[in-house]
Symmetry: C2
Subunit: 211 residues, 2 copies
């Protein structure tokens, strides 16, 4: 052909397609990234791909809370200063990191590894729900139930509500305290811009005024 709008190299095409398969990375930026990597020293690129391979192949999951970890127990579950009678239930590893960043939580976590979603074909058995239930039943045996708490820190959509309710049905027999994240206007939010549902809920769930 006289005009060549194919890739100049099959290796480049393969790399661009691989990079372009990442979420939020378009074909144009995938090409830019591939050509950037091509300009880097070989050892830098080897370190780049090596770090990703090691993460995928060697990372472990905490045997208690299923958080990613370098050992059998994660840094939080092995931390004697944390409150091990309070379990915060989250969907993902990233949620744990977000909550830790707030520096407001001193309990431990349980990572479900997803959320119940019939559309995506994710059922309870795909999540670490049974492990959570045994953790809670063990807690209820070892401590007065009223001293223990399970906090649902799940998304506010239907899937989140469904998952929380499904778990609630299984742990309520143990009599532990069960709570969920407070929902309402964000701090500094302007009433004009709040959506009706959020504004409505934050009126219903209004809190004691503490000056």
């Amino acid at each position: 052909m006289i005009y060549n709008d194919k890739y100049p190299s099959a290796l480049l095409q393969e790399a661009v397609e691989a990079i372009g398969s990442l979420p939020g990375v378009g074909r144009r930026s995938a090409l830019k990234l591939a050509l950037h990597l091509l300009r880097q020293p070989v050892e830098n690129v080897r370190h780049f791909t090596g770090a990703i391979d090691r993460l995928r192949n060697e990372v472990k999951y905490c045997s208690v809370c299923r958080m990613i970890s370098d050992g059998d127990l994660c840094g939080i579950c092995s931390d004697g200063k944390r409150d091990h009678k309070t379990i915060c239930v989250v969907e993902s590893v990233q949620d744990v990191m977000s909550i830790e960043k707030t520096r407001q939580y001193t309990g431990v976590y349980h990572v479900l590894g997803g959320i119940i979603s019939p559309i995506d074909g994710t059922g309870p058995s795909d999540l670490t729900i049974s492990e959570l239930v045994s953790r809670v039943s063990a807690l209820a045996k070892d401590f007065p139930p009223e001293e223990t708490e399970v906090i649902f820190a799940l998304s506010g959509d239907v899937e989140g509500e469904t998952t929380a309710f499904y778990i609630y049905r299984q742990i309520s027999p143990f009599g532990v305290k069960v709570s969920a994240l407070a929902r309402g206007l964000g701090f500094g939010d302007d009433l004009d811009y709040a959506d009706e549902l959020t504004l409505g809920r934050s009126i219903v769930n209004r809190q004691v005024f503490r000056p």
Copy 2:
């Protein structure tokens, strides 16, 4: 420590830092990408990193135009239907791909592999300028100079102008035709929004009106 805002895994931190070293990828999206890769099947991640390693370690450069290529000669230089007496001088591999996409050019290319930039410490010897000069001198020997042409398709900034002038001084003795990309208002551009320099140049370099 009771609050844990470190990475939950050294492997994750290593991967996030590697991904975050890519241009235009912030720490937040690097974390999202690392956790995305962690959720993929092992063989997908191996294919992802393998494609990048192969690109960096196995890609070749065309012995004539220095374009990346799977063999000794790129698809354009080995194409008998292209006009090998017209050489378009570009800075990068990406520039060749952009020009090919226009389907307006039938000649061949020469990839400089950069641009003369004292600030970045890039001098003429870091580029494939001497290779270009020998190509042009060979052309001038084999064909009547007026049938041969060198087109500067370099950026319009000082570095681009400097590089073009530096090369021009060395190839003008061969008597080949030398041209540069037309500069002016973009097609469909509105005069109100054109910068003075561009508008001024497009008046000075006005073209014959062809209805």
